[in-house]
Amino acid sequence: MSIRVNKAGLLTSIQDLGRRGFQQHGVIISGAMDSYSLRIANLLVGNDEKEAGLEVTLMGPTLEIESDCLVAITGGDLTPSVNGKPVPMWKPLFIPKGSTLSFGPCKTGCRSYLSVAGGFSIDEVLNSKSTYLRGEIGGYKGRALQTDDVLPLSAPAASKPAFLSNELINGVYTSSWSVNYKEFVHFTKKPSVRVMNGSQFDLFTAESKSHFMKEPFKVSNQSDRMGYRMDGPSLQLQEKKELLSEAVSQGSVQVPPDGNPIILLADRQTTGGYPKIAQVITADLPLLAQIKPGESIYFSHILLHEAEKIYLEKEQLLQELKIAINLASTK
């Protein structure tokens, strides 16, 4: 059972929910940028939500499906098609052996996720299948996919939900229902990202603090999985201060001396020494992951307890979704 890469696309890599537990050794977490989309893709094909899938960026790959498989595509709409005909997202798809799965222009977002029932048969490195590109470990040979790679698949567990309802869309069997993804990932023209004050918020000038919360910031072209560099009003400290390095987390907004903030993302370093003006709430990280270089965002301030409430509510919703998918695919 396998999938062959006929064309690699811009940046396609194997990602799960990350390599946790090794940050004190300097090992970065990696993992899916938009974790909600990956988790939902996994649930749709009966996998554990922690299973690894493909993260497809901006210009997707062309994949040859070498054995019958059940897949799901979620995240940004990169116009997926099978044998040249569009296929729906956010629902299970049964793709017959010999089909070609390809992606087209970006309609919404910039990252799609592809999960396959059973998952990819790839060794874990430090408890994770995620590709850590800079460290060249995990995933498929520690790197992004290339033309002619053959990705081996694991057989789906027999007890996993059978595929039902058999609606035929463009030659692909699918379900009559799909996930209402707007609860988890939303795509808008002027996204607003919710932040809490960062550990060094009070060290910034009053003007910088107010600019940060009011003005738009543009995601620069130098952005990648490690972090988004933002162009906007320059943010300055009240006085120059050298900080000691300390742990950072996904969503930390660091400000280097040039005054342009950087939002740390999945492939961030484990520690940093720049002052942190803000911290993006966990529930809004997937929204951020779908913003393309060149697009602008606004930041809005919320308190810790609100951030925690939103986090816990989303997790509750995801648990409910899990139950609903199980019911829908076993009845």
């Binding site: 946790r20 390095s245 742990a247 925690e308 816990l312």
Partner: protein, 251 residues
Amino acid sequence: MNQTVTKASAVISPLGDSALVITFGDSIQYDIHKQIKTYKDSIELNPFPGFVECVPAFTNLTIFYNPPEVVAAVGKKQKKEFVSPFEVVSSIIQSKLENEQTEKELNHRTVSIPVCYGGEYGPDLEYVARHHNITPEEVISIHSEGEYLAYMIGFAPGFPFLGGLSEKIATPRRPSPRTSIPAGSVGIAGMQTGVYPISTPGGWQLIGQTPIKLFLPEQNPPSLLQAGDIVKFKPISKEEYQELQAKEGEK
């Protein structure tokens, strides 16, 4: 800002909605390192429900946790009201801090790292010597006589932040960083010294190179050095370097 000052005069503050930071001081001091190491070991030995991992740094310890797991472990009665994962973890940490003894001495492991100094392996050795008006041999002997404490591992997998460099060879970073530094490079930046475990860009003054691997992704722990280790550098010849490198390659 939600902050709590504990009896042990440590400050607990949130790092986003899934981590918190316990700050023990604001400068690099052995006593602070000792407290951090003691609490880290204690939490790892007796993790609370929802604990994910912790990261020690020079003056603080960051604790990562899983909010739904933290809340799930709280009694049913309390759950009717909103339970803040940060507050739950803070109070666990506080009571731990109040009961923890930091009087006892730490056991430090000493790790010896062989280094081939100068030449192609240490392109900035001459510069460091000139900067201090001493000979390259003197730089080597000062660097290799020192004992260095690994305060934290970060920046790159296995990269140690080592304290204890002699002022006699402390040298500012290069004005513009190199775009690629070979793995194993031993460098100096101000009062710090360290070893690059993987090839990365960097601005440190490179005085030598070790054939030993500091990042070991196939092993657990994957880092040769841990926070709290004492590091000593042992000068080796080019021949010894090549011999050791061949052995490392076989592993």
